[in-house]
Structure formats: C-alpha cells, structure tokens
C-alpha cells in the first residue's frame, strides 16, 4: 500500500469498508429524512390541527394519555361526546412524559383548545400566568364533586381552571394471603407499624418494599410522613416555599424516616418501582407504599389478593385522614379557537356520562365524579374510593404540589442523598433551604 500524498487522502482511507459502500451524501440524506420525519411527528403531536380547527363543529384536545388502555378510554369518552353534541373531537396524543416536559412551550405556542393536565401547584401556576382559561361557568353546570375536588380545581384567584376526571390514592399495599399466613394485623399507629415491620423481618420478609431509582417514588414517603407529622396545611405551605426546610418540623420528618429506613428494602437507588412491586408480588416483601397503579405488576388472578391500608397515625392530634391522591383532568387553553365547543367538551368530561364510560373501561383508576355509576368497581377500587372519600385533605404528590424545577433539581437529589446517608439531616435540610431561597424568588 502506498503512502498517502495528502492529509485529505490519508483521512479518506480511514473510512472502513463496511461504511465505504454508503457515500456520505446518501447518509446525510437519510439523516435529514429521519430528522424531517421526527420533526413532523412531533409537530403533528404538539401543534394545532389547523386543517380541522376552523370549523364550528370541531374542537381539539391535546392528550398525554399515550398508554394503550387510557388512550382507548379517552377515545370512547370523546365518541360519547360526539354522539351527545355532534361535535367532532380531534385528539392529539403525545407521549406522556414528552407532553409533560414540553408543557411550557406547548401552552405558549398554539395549544389545543382543551388539554390534559393535573391538579396542583402547576395548574394554579398556569392559571396565574394566564396560560389557561377561567372555566368557573362550566363548574356552575357540574354536579357530583366533593368540596375537596372543587378546591383542587381552583386557582389562586378563587376561580376554577380545571375539571377533574380520574384520581388514585397512595396507600400501603400488601397481599392478603401473606398476611393471613403470618397472622398480621393492619397497624393503626406508627408503633404498631414498626412492630409489624420487626415481626416481618423475623419471618424472613423485607418489611417495606422500596425503590427510588427514578427519584420520584421516595417523594410519596416524604409526603405521607410530613402529612402525618405536621399536617396538611404545613405540607402545602412547605411545598409553596412559605415554610423553612431547616425547621424542626421538617427535621422530625427526616428523623422519623431515618428510623423507618432499616425496615425498607435496601439498595433502593438502583431499583425501579416495578421491581419493588414485583418483590411484593413474589411475596418477598410484606408491604409497599405506592399508588394504586401498583396493581399493574399483578396478574389478573392476583388482583383480588391485593389489599391496602392508609399509612398509620403518628401524631394523634393530626390523625391519619390526609393522603396523596393525584387528580388527572382537563384544562382549557388561553385562547381556544372554538371556545364554545371547548366549554361543552369540558362540561361533558366533568359529567356523569364521561365518568360512567371511564368506569366501564378502565379498572386501574377511580373517577372523580361521585354521581357516576360505580357498580363496576373492583373491591380494591371501592375501598380506594372510600378511603379518598373519607379523607379530610387531599395532597397531589410532591412534584405536583410544588414548583417542578424545585421538585426535580433539588428534592430528588436531596431525597436520594438522604437515603444514602440518613445521618446528616442538618446538612441536608440547610442545603435544600439554600436552594429553595434561590428558586422561590418571586
């Protein structure tokens, strides 16, 4: 082989034979093509549907329900709306996480008339920024909602911006067969809870399944401990940045958690919630604090073996009536193209018919409207609905109750740090407080 004469020639020889067959131009063309495909795919998903948006017989809906089951349910609900009102709904479905991550750009661009969202701080934030429309008049026509749900749909200015559709509670789940086998009783207080954990350890079980690889599941533990120790109002104020993380109240939460950590499944930071749920399903763990969606990891026959209790009381003065029950629902964009139809659609979403269709088709969730026919609920669903119905206050889960930047860039690393090293609570809380002050500036 002769020596190359120039650097360019030299470099040209570096192309491996496997690649040399494809010249660079065709490679680029391919890349551009893929890019264009991706681009249009995203645009079609996020953008407005200008082709059909203009007619008065239409309304567009931006949906994050990308999983097959909920997506199918939504199609059935919108079909129901079409039958009752004659208005066609153009549904733009976007992957759940993508939708959530792009929400800022989506709402500031050309959003769909109606879009799926959650109750909580973020909903109120969009309302305050004028990125969502006041729908108090729709609420005037809705019935069947408890005050807790109306409160969860209300913005800081006292107007409603949100129509709740479904929700699910967070609770401590267990397998009835395992508990019967060992004769465990549902604990009512934190002492009974830790005693039960010690017994489970003796029986060779992992008392509490635990996973925090993705960062958010541990928020559920923090939430429930804070709700039990300091109560709902303090929790919400803490989430809104009004209370100090360095206060003794917050330290007590971490102290209590540190005491419970030995009962938790070790090495949680490398485990997904699915794996932790499977340890419960395989009868290796005794219980697991998670949302109702834990049932996804159980087969159909095992569903009836799944039961739960609400996290036990820690302070008798506070009780055990508050809990996390994130609510999913719908909001209206700031300048909907078809405002009348959008309001009609929201009214339908909040009504009994939509709730009935959801109950019939989705066993994994609970409907917010109490006037719905819930005879189709499973035993677990019924119990979950009762639990939330009896709750005095409903929190939405940490990452929905506070600023998303605070939740994801401060709290997630902080909780993971705590799980790694539960001893340095003072250092941890002051680090959170310093970052909080820098984020909650206005």
């Amino acid at each position: 082989m002769s020596r190359p004469q120039s650097q360019a020639e030299y470099l040209a020889r570096l192309v491996p034979p496997s690649v040399a067959g494809i010249n660079r131009r065709s490679l680029l063309a391919g890349a551009a093509g893929t890019g264009a495909l991706l681009g249009t795919g995203l645009l079609a998903g996020c953008g407005d549907d200008s082709g059909s948006g203009g007619s008065s017989k239409d309304v567009s809906l931006g949906s994050n329900q990308s999983d097959p089951k909920p997506k199918d349910v939504l199609v059935k609900v919108t079909d129901g709306f079409k039958t009752s009102s004659g208005v066609q709904v153009a549904v733009n479905t976007v992957d759940h996480n993508t939708f959530q991550e792009n929400i800022n750009n989506y709402l500031q661009g050309k959003p769909d008339d109606v879009f799926t969202w959650f109750a909580g701080y973020r909903m109120r934030f969009f309302a305050q920024k004028g990125l969502a429309s006041d729908i108090s008049d729709v609420w005037g026509k809705l019935s069947g909602y408890s005050d807790a749900f109306k409160k969860a749909s209300t913005g800081d200015d006292g107007k409603q911006y949100f129509v709740p559709a479904t929700y699910y509670p967070w609770a401590v789940f267990y397998r009835k067969s395992v508990w019967q086998q060992y004769g465990y009783q549902v604990p009512k207080t934190i002492t009974e809870f830790t005693d039960l954990g010690a017994r489970m350890k003796k029986d060779g079980l992992i008392p509490i399944a635990f996973a925090d690889k993705d960062g958010w599941p541990a928020m559920g533990t923090f939430d429930i401990l804070n709700l039990r120790i300091n109560g709902y109002q303090f929790h919400i104020d803490l989430m809104a940045g009004k209370e100090a993380w360095t206060s003794d109240k917050v330290k007590k939460v971490f102290d209590t958690w540190a005491g419970l950590l030995p009962l938790h499944q070790p090495d949680s930071l490398g485990r997904t919630w699915q794996e932790a749920a499977q340890s419960l399903q395989q009868k290796k763990s005794g219980m697991y604090l998670l949302g109702l969606f834990v049932g996804q990891q159980f087969s159909n026959e095992e569903q009836s073996d799944l039961d739960f209790f609400t996290f036990p009381e820690i302070d008798p003065a506070i009780g055990a009536k508050a809990l996390d029950a994130p609510i999913d629902g719908y909001m209206m964009a700031r300048k909907p193209k078809n405002e009348d139809n959008a309001r009609k659609l929201l009214e339908y979403f909040g009504g009994k018919d939509a709730a009935d269709i959801t109950v019939k088709n989705d066993p994994a969730t609970l409907v917010a409207n109490t006037s719905a026919d819930v005879s189709g609920y499973t035993a677990l669903q019924k119990k979950a609905a009762e639990l939330v119905g009896s709750a005095t206050e409903i929190a939405q889960f940490l990452d929905r109750d506070t600023r998303p930047d605070f939740a994801s860039t401060v709290i997630i690393p902080a909780l993971q740090q705590f799980i790694k090293n539960p001893k340095d609570i003072g250092g941890l809380t002051s680090s959170i407080e310093n970052q909080k002050k820098s984020i909650f500036t206005d």
């Binding site: 190359p4 192309v15 959530q100 860039t409 820098s438």
Partner: protein, 318 residues
C-alpha cells in the same frame, strides 16, 4: 456521530490553502471568472451563516441567559438580569455540581488511560491478520453501531440488582446502578465497551495506511516488534493519534446518553451535560441556571478545542 472528527479534520485542511497565498491575492482574484467568484462567495457565506446561526448565536444567547433568572415562560422583555448569581449558586449551593465536574474528569481519565489504549492495542493485534480477524473486528465494532441510550438498556439487563445477569451468575447482590460508589464505574465499563470498538476501528484504519516498508526497514535493522511499533509506527501515525485523542476528549465531554438512560444523571452519575439537561429541558425550565452550567461546560470545551486547533495549525505551518 462517529465520523464527526473525520469531518472536522477534513475541514481543518482547506484554510491554510487560502491563508498562505495572501501575497498574490489580487491577481488571483482577477483570474477567476464571475461564476467562480459567485461560487466562492456562496461557499464562504453559506457555511458562515450556518455556523453563526446555529453555533455562535445560540452560544452567545446561552451566555447571555446565564445572567438571568428566566423560567422559559412569558415574553422576552420580562427577563430579569441577576448578574453572576447563577454562577455563585452553581458553585456554592448546588450539591450535584462538584461531583459532576469530578465525574467528567474521571470519565476523561478512564477513557484516556484504559479504554483508548486498549482499543489501540486491539487494533495492533487485529492488524496482524490473525485468523478470523474480520470476525473479531465486527464483534468489537458492533457496540459502536448501537446508540448509547440502547447500550444503557442492554447493560441494565446485566446490572439490575434483583434481576440482572451479573448478580444472578455470581450470587452477589451488588447494586450496580444504584450504589453511588459503584455506579460510575459500572457505567464507564459500558461506555468503554463502546469506546474501545470505536478507537480500535479508527486506529486499525490508520495502521493499514502505514507503509509496510517502514516496518520492514525497522525489522532489517534488528528492531523488536514492540520497539518497531513505538519508535517507527507510532510517530508516523501522529495525525491519527491526534484524532484519537480528540475523539476521546469529545466522548468524555459529551458523555450524557448513558447516565441519562440509567438514572437521569443523579445519585453518583452526575455529569455536567446531564445537569444542564435536567435544568433546562423539560418541565423544570430553570433556563438561567441551566445556561450558567452550560456556559461553564462551554468554557471547559473551549480549552480543549483551543489546544486541538493550536496543534493542528502548528502542524500545518510546519
């Protein structure tokens, strides 16, 4: 992606041709026809606009935004300047920052000290035309074809604490991806697995280009095989060595996909690129703060880019 340095090196070639001939420039220009001049103007202008529009303006905007506390919502005139506060926050109260810098340096060191030399070693071995060298070549190069995100998933199957292959085979219960003392190494093994193949191929291609008569001459002079490599082949491969070096630096600076797939760059896997993404992209929208992190990364990259360009330019002058 993998041919990036090649393109860069390609681009590095033309400039000397235009800059070294400044003396006869006027006459040369007049010799060119009108079409030539239009073509030349276009060829300079279009890339210039592209580079300015897609590289320099966004970079400048990032630096500018790093002085604000913009949250990505609302009109641009509502942006509030906060001076250097984001930078002082990054350094003083942002716990993941220091680990992130350390991990980036560790990444660079591991690729440079272990993965790159190993890839070069494999290239030298394969250059010996062993039996089945095509097979080895393909096997080693295969990971390069996979995206890093995919590699993260593949290794997850091996690393998972409860269901992974490694713990199942050895009966251990090491939390490979979750234990913050272990996971950076576990991820670097996965990343090195890919990097080795990449370097191997680059280097092998370079070795094939070395004039065999050089080696023969060394052998005739009685040099041992390793001596011939280090004294003759390695110095001759200088351009490719620089490319390998630059690829290694680039790979370690843009290390991102893998840790993002594993746990979004948290808990022991902090990298500056992952922190930038956590803050800027997605719902968090700490645009100002994230831009400060991005600017820091830009400065670090500029150091390496400057060193590289200085070396290449000196080479061309010689």
């Amino acid at each position: 992606m993998s041919d990036l340095p090649l393109i860069q090196a390609d681009r590095a070639v033309p400039p000397p041709a235009t800059t070294t001939s400044t003396g006869g420039r006027r006459r040369r220009l007049r010799l060119l026809s009108r079409t030539d001049r239009v073509v030349i103007t276009l060829m300079v202008l279009v890339p210039l606009l592209l580079v300015t529009g897609f590289v320099w303006l966004p970079a400048a905007a990032t630096v500018l935004l790093s002085g604000t506390n913009w949250d990505g919502i609302g009109p641009l005139d509502e942006i509030e300047f906060v001076g250097a506060r984001n930078y002082s926050d990054v350094v003083n109260i942002y716990p993941p920052f220091v680990p992130a810098v350390q991990h980036n340096l560790l990444w660079l060191a591991a690729l440079f000290v272990v993965a790159t030399p190993f890839g070069m070693f494999l290239a030298v071995l394969l250059d010996k035309e062993l039996r089945g060298s095509r097979f080895y070549q393909t096997a080693l190069y295969l990971p390069v074809v996979l995206s890093l995100a995919l590699i993260g998933f593949v290794w997850q199957l091996l690393y998972s604490r409860d269901q992974g292959l490694i713990n199942a085979v050895f009966g251990t219960s090491i939390d490979w991806y979750g234990d913050s003392n272990v996971n950076i190494w576990a991820v670097m093994v996965a990343s090195g697995w890919r990097h080795v193949g990449y370097i191997m191929l680059l280097y092998l291609a370079g070795l094939k280009g070395v004039d065999p008569s050089l080696r023969e001459a060394a052998a005739v002079d009685g040099a041992s095989e390793s001596r011939a490599f280090f004294r003759v082949v390695f110095p001759v491969m200088r351009p490719i060595n620089i490319i390998v070096l630059v690829v290694t630096v680039i790979e370690s600076l843009r290390a991102f996909d893998l840790v993002w797939v594993v746990n979004k760059g948290r808990n022991g896997l902090e990298l500056i690129s992952a922190l930038v993404t956590q803050n800027v992209v997605g719902e968090a929208s700490r645009i100002g703060f994230g831009s400060a992190l991005a600017t820091i990364m830009l400065v670090v990259s500029l150091v390496f880019i400057t060193i590289y360009l200085a070396t290449v330019m000196r080479e061309n002058r010689e």
